[in-house]
Symmetry: none
Subunit: 246 residues, 2 copies
């Protein structure tokens, strides 16, 4: 599965910390293929390794190239990540569209790459010209400031979502928690109603049915579990008996 | 639009830098309402302001609260962000599902909140018990290491995406019925808890907190309306007084 994921290509990245942070961001969503084009401070970079921490396998496995063309040599579909509009006549797609496009390509054996620019100036038009499409993260036009690791995070997140290549945290804990049956809820309701009758709650008498129905609606819609109904019945019982102890 | 966006609530955040980074992440996707519960280093925090940079309006506008209940008092729908499984009987939803749920709620005037825990230990079970659902970011089970700003980034990103295509809840009978605020639900819960304490319900004593939390979860998740909470408080009052009349 990791072999099929796109490679993330950092073009002229500057600080090692940011390379390490990008590696962490990627691995959170199961993307582990990292390529570097002309990293400013050379390679390997101890700061990248330190920042990568648990994601050090991504940093250790990074491939380094002198040119973007060399880095993309074996790729068939390339996206250039940028927040800005470009003059180039390239389609502009969202992270979600990018993920879907890459997922359908990797299933037929293609190798996809996503380009990310350096911290200072991003991708040059020359870099973008190597891409099939521009991947644009739709940030707030009044405040666009995502960093390299955050851009990588969003692209990897969408990749994982599109492919469900990451196992979702095993669903709904309520699924294993037996829900109350309608009968359970009816008994809870009848119990409350009986105690409320005894307490003289329903007043004036002509409003009784409407008031009782409102309570039934609230309790039924609440979606209690079986054990919650037991708990609440115990609570009602305790409340109804309370005065007798005083 | 910004007024309608969810508020992001940081519970016991530690480093000011991380608060500033979260503010930046939020504003990239148009989320600007920030609330802080017991920030470790007090408030205002110069490090948060420095890190926020262009997003300083978010940091400057942050509201600070002593308790989570106070921070959520005016909210009607609350999500707790966590990567971990919980013992609580709460639905677990993805960031995309969370965004869709919040979008349909804000269109009918509800106020939504998303909780994020502190750097060291995240949200406590007591915090999560205040939520309608758990928002789980589906990270790689073998490497889960997203930080506060990255979690905020993904939730805000999904929020902005969902806003591009809001589907109004068709024919939801609740749409015209104002939902209970968190403060309403907290008062109902406190009322019940007080009466149950007086009734000697919580036994054995060492189980008190867990029993009380189970009731809180059931009542919070129930999605009561404002008038249902009033009705139920009246019912609790009547039950608690019942014995005295006998």
């Amino acid at each position: 599965m990791a072999g099929a994921a796109p490679v993330f290509v950092l073009v002229a990245p500057q600080m090692g910390e940011n390379i390490g942070a990008a590696a962490r961001a990627m691995l959170n969503f199961g993307v582990s293929g990292l390529r570097l084009v002309n990293p400013r401070d050379g390679w390997p970079n101890p700061k990248a390794a330190a920042m990568a921490s648990g994601a050090s396998a991504v940093v250790d496995g990074a491939q380094v190239f002198e040119t973007l063309d060399a880095a993309l040599a074996d790729c068939t579909y390339v996206l250039a990540t940028t927040a800005r509009q470009r003059e180039l006549s390239l389609p502009v797609i969202s992270p979600g569209e990018a993920a879907a496009a890459m997922q359908s390509r990797v299933t037929v054996g293609e190798r996809c790459a996503v380009l990310f620019g350096g911290e200072r100036s991003g991708l040059s038009s020359e870099d973008v010209a190597r891409a099939d499409a521009v991947l644009s993260i739709p940030v707030n036009p009044a405040f666009a400031s995502i960093n390299l690791a955050q851009a990588a995070l969003i692209v990897a997140y969408e990749w994982a979502r599109a492919g469900e290549s990451v196992i979702l945290p095993a669903g709904d804990p309520l699924a294993s928690e037996p829900p109350a049956t309608r009968e359970d809820v009816a008994r809870l309701n009848d119990h409350i109603e009986k105690e409320l009758d005894a307490a003289g709650y329903f007043f004036p008498p002509e409003m009784r049915d409407i008031m009782a129905r409102n309570i039934r609606v609230a309790l039924t819609r609440a979606g209690f579990t079986e054990s919650e109904v037991r708990t609440l019945r115990g609570a009602v019982k305790a409340l109804a008996k309370k005065g007798q102890k005083q």
